[in-house]
């Protein structure tokens, strides 16, 4: 890095906020506060997605993470419990051991990963950049993400849509779409 990139300061600030919110979520026992902080966490990560040039992703994360999933978790919380039970100390230590072993294994692999922002890394060098150069000639729309999503990888997206449909179907089967009629009868 030859010259200092000022947007990196923004990145560091967002990362610090993500860490603070993440640790707060783990420590809170009040479920309402935890769910609300999860929405905040999504919004901060959406802001980071914007500085990482992923505007489409930031858009989706802001709408889904801060909007829909917060509402769903609040609804589920209303139906279940407001407060989590305190956890025994031994369980904290067991979790800490699991997390440190897994984290150490991941840290061991960091040295082999490509440098942040490397244009020649394996992930960035081949197919991703081919989409950018060939989209004007094949599809002729400016937004490359839409071109890849709907045309180059339309088959993948079809699979995703079917998964969303199946998930919706699963929720309907589990909870019933018209609970007023008869579905909640067995309680």
């Amino acid at each position: 890095m030859t010259e200092f990139d000022w947007t990196q300061l923004l990145d560091y600030a967002l990362m610090g906020m993500l860490l603070a919110v993440g640790i707060a979520i783990v420590r809170l026992r009040n479920l309402f506060a935890a769910v609300m902080l999860a929405g905040v966490y999504s919004l901060i990560s959406a802001a980071w997605f914007v500085t990482l040039d992923a505007v489409d992703v930031a858009f989706t994360e802001a709408a889904v993470g801060a909007g829909i999933s917060t509402v769903l978790m609040l609804a589920a919380m209303l139906l279940t419990a407001r407060e989590a039970e305190p956890v025994k100390a031994i369980r904290h230590w067991a979790a800490l051991i699991v997390v440190s072993v897994a984290g150490a294994a991941l840290f061991y692999a960091v040295g082999d990963m490509p440098v942040y922002g490397d244009p020649n890394s394996p992930a960035n060098a081949y197919v991703g950049m081919d989409y950018i150069t060939s989209t004007p000639n094949d599809i002729a729309i400016p937004n490359v993400v839409t071109a890849v999503l709907a045309s180059y990888r339309g088959f993948d997206t079809f699979g995703e849509v079917v998964v969303i449909f199946a998930a919706g179907l699963g929720v309907m089967l589990l909870l019933g779409l018209n609970p007023g009629k008869k579905t909640g009868g067995e309680e």
Binding site: F59, N143, T146, V162, G180
Partner: protein, 147 residues
């Protein structure tokens, strides 16, 4: 009288704007960030806001559960049907170039992307609404004191 007067007035102003913004995000998705996934979630968020402020029964009158169920399946069928249509016209599955003879401007690609994104919009919107109805239909109404 009404404890949520500000909420009602503000949301009445905002909900149409949110829906229009969602449609803009959808139909302008070729040129700017956006597309069926984002638009579906945004429009669903507008209806969920309506349901939270004015009650779930009013929302069910505006967007009936039968409509939601139908559209969830219809979106998947529209997506798959576009693929089948390209097969029938002699191309590969989801190869949109055969949809329109104008190859120089890739009109077929534009039509195909529009249809497919509409399918995504319908499915995402309807599934989000169905999930919300399923949870909210069971949840007890929040007592006034809890707001």
């Amino acid at each position: 009288m009404n404890p949520h007067l500000v909420l009602r007035v503000v949301s009445k102003l905002l909900i149409p704007l949110i829906v229009v913004f969602g449609l803009y995000v959808h139909f302008h998705g070729d040129y700017s960030p956006g597309g069926g996934f984002q638009a579906g979630v945004i429009v669903a968020a507008a209806v969920i806001l309506y349901a939270l402020i004015f009650g779930i029964e009013n929302a069910k009158q505006a967007v009936p559960t039968g409509f939601v169920r139908f559209m969830a399946a219809f979106g998947v069928l529209l997506y798959g049907g576009t693929g089948v249509a390209t097969l029938i016209l002699g191309g590969n599955f989801l190869d949109y170039d055969v949809l329109h003879p104008d190859q120089a401007h890739h009109t077929g690609q534009h039509i195909g992307i529009l249809l497919v994104e509409l399918g995504v919009l319908f499915t995402v919107f309807s599934v989000m609404m169905a999930i919300f109805y399923a949870f909210a239909g069971r949840a007890p109404d929040i007592p006034e004191g809890e707001w």
